[in-house]
Amino acid sequence: MAAAEEGQVVSCHTIEAWNEQLQKGNESKKLVVVDFTASWCAPCRFISPFLADMAKRLPEVTFLKVDVDELKSVAQDWAVEAMPTFMFLKEGSIVDKVVGARREQLQQTVDKHKTSSASA
């Protein structure tokens, strides 16, 4: 199951799927990057291929996608106000956040947290 999801962005369409993915991320101690997105947000559409590409390149990082209209309560709980918002999680806690479609910053933030996990 986990192997099949490696290398791609996993969309969470239900609260159950979301919780399950979070739990899996906590247990694996891997860096989890959550993309809060919306179908009507053009910048989200622009960054989407880049995220898919990163997921392919970095199997050691888990990439999740949450549609803020689909999982409204999650978006609210996480105080997501603008899209795309990328939350960086490690063992259940937020370690970083990038708001907006900014390739360079996204890549850099992933690199930063992915390395710190290797050295830990």
Binding site: S39, A82, V99, A101, E104
Partner: protein
Amino acid sequence: MAVSGFEGFEKRLELHFFGDDPLLMDDNVNNSCNNNMLGLQLGLGLRRLDFDSLQQVLHAVQCTVVSAVGNHYFDSYVLSESSLFVYPTKIIIKTCGTTQLLKSVRPMVHHARRLGLSLSSVRYTRGNFIFPESQPFPHTSFQNEVVFLEDCLPPTLRFRKASVMPSSLSSHSWHVFTASADDGDAVSDDEDEAIFTVEICMTELGAASAAKFFRRPNDGQTPDSAGKEMTEITGIGNIIPRALICDYAFDPCGYSMNGVLGDRYSTIHVTPEDGYSYASFETVGSVYDDKNDLARVLKKVAQVFRPAKMSVSTTSCASPEVWKRVAAALETVGLKCRSCAADEFPAAGTVVYQTFTARRK
């Protein structure tokens, strides 16, 4: 002054559209955007534009997207040389340097057409270029700009007006062109009616203020992280405290930001080089806002940049008195009003253009 440097003064274009086919305007995918609470019954409109189309428009202007973000109301883009805001039926593009902004009109109208949207009004504004001889066609003169722009417009936009609003400062004047399918106010809805735009151009920035917009050599930062630092140290982050800011620092100097707060945008662009230093600030307000909001914002802008010269243009359909608040606020932070000109334009309403200079100590 340098023979030629980077042109800070922007060109600004605002295009309004209307949907002539309700089916095309309706976007079933997105219920949250169609609810009445958000006042977006018209659906996504221009926000459905695919990235390739948008890039085609920006390519014509000679700009690229450096960062982008969206909320329930609009999408905001920081461009390589300035900013773009896309609302369901309105688009605002502001570009500086030697970009060819007016070349975006034709492709934009074409792509909007495919989404079932027709152009209903246009507003083009700019200040006085510092290096007019460096501008490419059609920006070589205001006359050329107007001829070029008029040629891009459908005949339905038959109410047109071009005017150069003067000031007492030779370095500042305000060029305005508007065109509309309607003479009166019928074209815009009530919400648009209440909105006013404030466009500020500042020259001869305070030396200490300008210095903050230079990167340190080998600072090891990205354009994003250096931009964030500039937002903090300059006080830009406090101008509209609750706004989400997308900032970007250029190398070796210069800065751009877009602020997003609900349905309102704000934007700042800075060219800090000595001899032709320039900064712009633009935001929108509503006649229903707290009357002190605008004054607070203007005072902070003046304090961040400490310009020797400043021009403020307010464009408003419903609230021509906004300009009085502008002058009153700026007088309290050491800027003296030197001139004030007003004119009426089709669809845009009243444009009031004021200039200020710093009182010398």
